[in-house]
């Protein structure tokens, strides 16, 4: 197995008396999709918030490309290549789909000094935005105002925006949430398409999707890692069956 691009050690986050994330070690590798499963309240979103810098860790460390990034701000982490999507759609509703992605791509090339130029006309950023829209299957909807997109399209836009920032690591928080079967199938295809070039962390409730795309699965319960392994190992694990999948698994 190739070397991890993002790795945590003993990562913990306490909210008062509750250990939302407790002593979690997780590794992300380029070209692999690492899925995190767990019931509600298992600490999956908190884990993503810790990795993206939205929450500060109570204990433990996060290393990215060999450097300790435990104390970096969310915007710094984004700029060095850690992108995330949100469980609850988090876009610029009044802007067009294109402008949502263009703004995301602009973050890689702020050009703050060029205040006399038209931002929308700058080719490199334009092209990055169009590529991201295309990858997410939204090319035809580029000029539609984001708030007028369907729920599924807004979820696609959510991913397109992260892709437009050209990240190395993608932290995806339930990208399939609220999607219809057809949209979900498209998203699964998209995940498969982007996996070779990225290190992905996927938090998802849709079991079929997770087992279809994951190279590795970590199961969390009450903030702790219950089991971590290949999809086959997880499927076969008695502990996981008992704690999470139940008898139907």
């Amino acid at each position: 197995m190739s070397e991890a691009i993002l790795a945590t050690r003993g990562l913990s986050r306490r909210f008062g008396g509750l250990m939302a994330v407790n002593d979690v070690a997780i590794e992300l590798t380029r070209g692999r999709l690492h899925a995190v499963l767990g019931p509600n309240g298992a600490g999956k979103t908190t884990l993503i918030n810790l990795l993206s810098g939205e929450l500060a860790a109570s204990n433990g460390s996060i290393h990215y490309k060999g450097e300790d990034i435990t104390r970096l701000s969310p915007d710094r982490r984004s700029r060095i290549g850690i992108g995330r999507s949100f469980q609850k759609t988090n876009i610029f509703p009044a802007f067009t789909a294109f402008e949502n992605c263009r703004l995301a791509a602009q973050s890689r090339e702020p050009r703050v000094a060029s205040i006399a130029s038209d931002a929308a006309a700058y080719p490199p950023v334009r092209e990055a935005a169009l590529r991201a829209l295309d990858a997410a299957g939204l090319s035809a909807r580029a000029e539609v105002v984001a708030s007028a997109l369907s729920h599924g399209e807004q979820r696609q836009l959510e991913i397109a925006m992260v892709l437009a920032t050209a990240p190395d690591v993608l932290l995806l928080d339930e990208p399939l949430a609220g999607m219809g079967a057809e949209e979900a199938a498209r998203m699964v295809l998209l995940l498969k398409k982007i996996t070779p070039d990225h290190a992905l962390l996927l938090v998802e409730h849709d079991m079929d999707a997770v087992f279809a795309v994951a190279d590795r699965i970590t199961v969390m319960v009450n903030g702790q890692v219950l089991e971590s392994g290949s999809p086959e190992q997880i499927r076969a694990s008695p502990a996981v069956r008992q704690a999470y999948l139940g008898d139907s698994g």
Binding site: V112, S114, A116, V125
Partner: protein, 320 residues
Amino acid sequence: MNRRKIALLAVLALLALFPFAGATFYTELVTKVMILAIFALSLDLLVGYTGLVSFGHAAYYGIGAYVLGLMTPKYEAASLWLTLPAAIAVAGLAALAVGIFVVRVKGIYFIMVTLAFAQMFYFLFHDTEIGRGSDGISMNFKPTAEIGGVTPFDLGNATHVYFFVFVILILVFLFLHILLRSPFGRALQGIRSNEHRMRSLGFPVYRYKLASFAIAGALAGLAGYLSAMQFGFVNPELLSWHQSGNVLLMLILGGQGSLIGAVTGAFAFVALQEVYQSVTTHWQLLLGATIIALVIFLPGGLASVAGRFKRKLIGGPENE
């Protein structure tokens, strides 16, 4: 050329011809309104485009005015070319210094700390002898536009002042129009729309907000300078919270987040003020009622009227 551009050009032509009507009182009144329009435009950058509702914007307006008051010697005229850039720079630096503290906080807290800093500046001028206390400074001379032995225009002449302010209003408008189209301006609008997502996309939001606050302060200083230049007088009331409130009301009247709206708001505000003052001494009651009615029935301000009309004709944003 579309209808919007024709309307804009018509208004500009009207403003350009206005002083030739020969009514000095109204020439001076419209000059005052255009200065307020610059002030409103500066606040719109913060409120309408960055999402920072400042309730202390008059501080920078007043500082710009005081720069002229303090730089004007007793027995001769100060140079426009020296004092005008100085006013912009000092007001911008003051806003930068205050911004370092205030742009860290959000929402109601931002409103309160901007107000608190503005009150500090108010009392600095009101209670100390820096600017001769509450009496303020009366300037004996208007600044001179003389440069290299040539005086291109006379700032003691009401018509010349009118056109000078008119040109600056157009320049400020164009500056903001270009700024808002630029990557920097787009980022500000992104921050207003969804600050959280902007940070997560990698934008150093704090620095953007600080820059916006400083630019808005510098432009407010420019407006304050012009006001001091027009009236030849500065006092602490220029920095008072009433003044900060009035410019916010102009934005609400005209429609924040629209440059046209800011200018329209300044004109509407003074027009309402003049009309109501001629009717009753309790004019503030009428003005307040008008603004409440406007917020209820036209939440986008006067500038949204054209947009509403268009939407009715061609349907919602889905129809392209």
